[in-house]
Structures are given as C-alpha cells and as structure tokens.
Subunit: 226 residues, 2 copies
DNA sequence: ATATGAATGTGATTAAAGTCACAAAAATAT
DNA sequence: ATATTTTTGTGACTTTAATCACATTCATAT
C-alpha cells in the first residue's frame, strides 16, 4: 500500500483529493517495479486497473491490420496508462510496456471511478489531462503524414532530447531500431538509413542507442520542413 | 436562447444536469445554422466557446507542416467541437467547418467549466466522451499507416455507409475529391485512382459524389486486409 | 573463449503513391 | 446562353520508402 499523499510525482488530479479520498486511493493502489520490456497493460485483455507511471519510461503500442505493432507514444512519469480504455471500454485497446526500469502504480478502476464521481475537481483535472493528451495525438497524426522519414526521425530525436532528457544534447534512446521504426511509422531499414542521412549532414552523431545532437538548429529545420 | 432541456439530441453529459444547471447552460448557449463550407471554429484563433453539433455534418481539420490541411475526422450530430482546445489551451488547435447544412450550439467556455466543477456526473460523461474519442483516433492512427490507399478509401466508404447513413448502401459523400484525399491521407489523384480500382473490381459504383456499395463483403475485406 | 541467436547495416530491387501537365466535365457567374 | 472558374480524370514520370537477401556486429549463454 502506498502513501499517495506524499507521492513524489503526484498528479494534478490527485492533488485535488481530500484526506478521505486520498485514503480511498491509498487503499486501492499497488506499486510495482518493472524491468525494461515488462508489460504494464495488454491489448485485448479485460481491463481492471489504471496504471500511473511514477518513474521510468514506457511505450504505448497498438496492433495494426498487418499484425505489426505501432508505437502510439512514449510516455514519461506522471502519465496514466489505460485510462481511456478502462473508462469507456471493457477490453484494453492498446498495450503498454516499460522501456526502462519503471515504477508503476496500479489503481483499481472502481476506486478511480468513485473518485471521479465524488470529486468534480479530480474529474476536471482528468478532463484537462485527456484534452492535452488528445491534442498531442492530433499533432502527431498530421506530422507523421506530412513529414518524410528524416523529418519524423528528427522529431523523435528532438523529443528524446527536449522532453525526456531535459534538453541534454547527448542521451540514450532506449529503443531498438525496430521500435524506433514502429514509433516513426517506418521500417527498421529506413530508420537505419535516415540515421545515416542525419549523421552525414552533420546534425547528429550516433553510436548504437547513444545519440548526440551536433547541430540543433539544422535538426530543428529538418523536423519543421518535414 | 435555447431550451436545452428539450434538445432533440441532448448529450449524455447534459442529461445529468439538474434544472439550475440546465438554466446556466440555457443562458449561455446560442444556436446557429450553418451552410456547407461555413466555419465553426478556426485553428489559431482565441477560443471562447465550445460548439455542439446538433444536426448536419462537419469536418475537423488541422494544418500540417506543408500548409496542407489534413482532415482528422468527420463528426456527426452529438459531437462537441473545440472541447480539447478550449479546456487546455488558449488557441484553437484545429479548425472545423460544416460540410452539410448544420445546426450548432455555441456554449460559453466559462459556463461549460462551471458545469464541470459543479456536477461531477457531467464531468464524468465528458471524460467518457473524451476517452471514446481518443480511442477512435488511436484506431485511425494505426489504420492510416498500415493500410494502403484502397484500404483507406474502403474505410471511408464504410464509414459513410455504416456511421453516417444508417448502413444504407447508396449515399452521397459530401466531400470533394480533395477533401476525401485529406481524410484518407493521400492526394486527389490517388483518390481518383483508388475509386476507379474499387469500381473496376465491382465493390462499388460511383457517380460524382454519389456512392453505392455493390459488394459489401469484398469492400470489408479490402478494408480489413489493408 | 566459443557458440548461438538477436539486432543492425547495406545494397539491389520493387512497389506504392506523389508530382506534373493537361484535358474534360461540372459548377458558378455574367 | 456563354464565359469563367473550379473540380475531376488521366497518362507519363519521379520519388520515397518498402521489401528482400545477406553480411556484420553485438549480446548472451555455455
């Protein structure tokens, strides 16, 4: 059992809870530590819990018609996993798994629903969360379609630098080339070639999973013009 | 001023409102009739209202890097427009316009927020709405990337038949070829050719904007296998 | 250290869809 | 009814990225 009141990365929603409500959360919340590759939620299975990523990094995947998994998003601490599914659907509509050692809190779906109906501020924060999340997907949707591979890969690299590594210019991308491909909607081979492209024109330096941004402005330009 | 209490297509959220709350809604809600092509909300402008589509049909568009508009979704009556933006962002992140004569209710954003914080059931229904909406985009996201044009066009045709025209086999798609292209993420020319393909193998019969599904099963198969 | 299997890089080839240019048809205005 | 503009269809060609086949590197287990 967790002490959600003093959670290091309390969500805005949880901050609205009063002591009684916090108690409901505490009683129905289980913290788990996951290794890279371990599954958080599984597409197609009955959903019973919402997951909250406390630390680490995870991916959200969805099966496509060809059976190939597509990565919808890389999620960082402070994100809810399985919320959309649990609340409006019986079965998980996407999978999620850790891509780095992660700590996840599983919250019982009924307790979660209880908190929503009890506390309008809590609900309100979830609404804001969902809205922002959806707008993010809108952006991703148009970007992925209008940019070609180099631009999409530039996006990925900028994302890992700006969003995941506090704008560090040198960082590790904890994804295989296959996963990178699933993330930028391409094939493994195309990703390899795009990495080579970006390296050759001097925007990045790459060694395995280790990326270094050499020319940020150029990378940004490639990302923007597609 | 509208009588939202007796709205012909009251949303589930509005159904949770008590008389006082309904009154807030009534007082802050304006009904407008729009002609095809008329704008409902505009990307980049300050958002002050949420729109609720009471009748007709609208499209949701978003500008991409190439300046080309992409159609995120075709929305039918009972949908909220601009909700994600208004609640979490100052500026509209997407545009919406009528593609058929439509009736839209504009609800003042502050009244809307007031209802959310007053009535947890109202908030709860909005959460469910947002979740379903987002899951729809997840589907769209993977489909659009894994299917090729014929499959995506089949999807579009099935959508207009099943979702918009109560499974009628013969119907009008109120979109130009250009809009169809923006919807299925392709070019006008490719759409023309895909329509020709599907016609030649006998799945559909097309005359201008008028579509007829001749072989539903085959069309479904093309949609499924991509 | 060696063997095994997975992940990655690379070149050749193919396929899908975009681009361009123009003709035909349809819609709209005069 | 005619002119003008917009939309749509079509063929030739190009571009992008996928596919395939294989080599290489890397990680892990024995």
């Amino acid at each position: 059992m967790q002490d959600c009141e003093f959670c290091a990365i309390k969500s805005k929603a949880v901050e609205t809870l009063n002591p009684d409500e916090l108690d409901i959360l505490k009683q129905n919340c289980a913290e788990v530590t996951l290794q890279p590759g371990e599954s958080i939620i599984k597409e197609g299975l009955l959903s019973s819990h919402i997951a909250y990523l406390k630390s680490g990094l995870a991916k959200i995947c969805k099966k496509g018609v060809k059976g190939v998994d597509q990565i919808l998003k890389i999620v960082k601490p402070g994100s809810y996993l399985g919320m959309q599914t649990v609340l409006s659907n019986k079965l998980h509509q996407y999978s999620s798994s850790a891509i780095e050692e992660s700590v996840v809190c599983y919250i019982d779906i009924w307790s979660f629903k209880e908190l929503i109906t009890r506390n309008a501020q809590f609900a309100n924060e979830l609404i804001l969360y969902l809205c922002r999340d959806e707008l993010g997907y809108f952006n991703r949707f148009v970007n992925v379609h209008q940019k070609q591979i180099d631009g999409r890969l530039a996006d990925m690299i900028l994302f890992f630098s700006d969003e995941i590594n506090e704008s560090e210019k040198s960082f590790r991308v904890p994804l295989s080339r296959n996963d990178m491909a699933a993330l930028v909607c391409a094939t493994r081979e195309s990703v390899t070639r795009a990495i080579k492209d970006l390296s050759e024109i001097g925007t990045i330096r790459v060694n395995g999973k280790h990326f270094e941004i050499v020319n940020y402005d150029l990378l940004k330009k490639i990302s923007e013009k597609g």
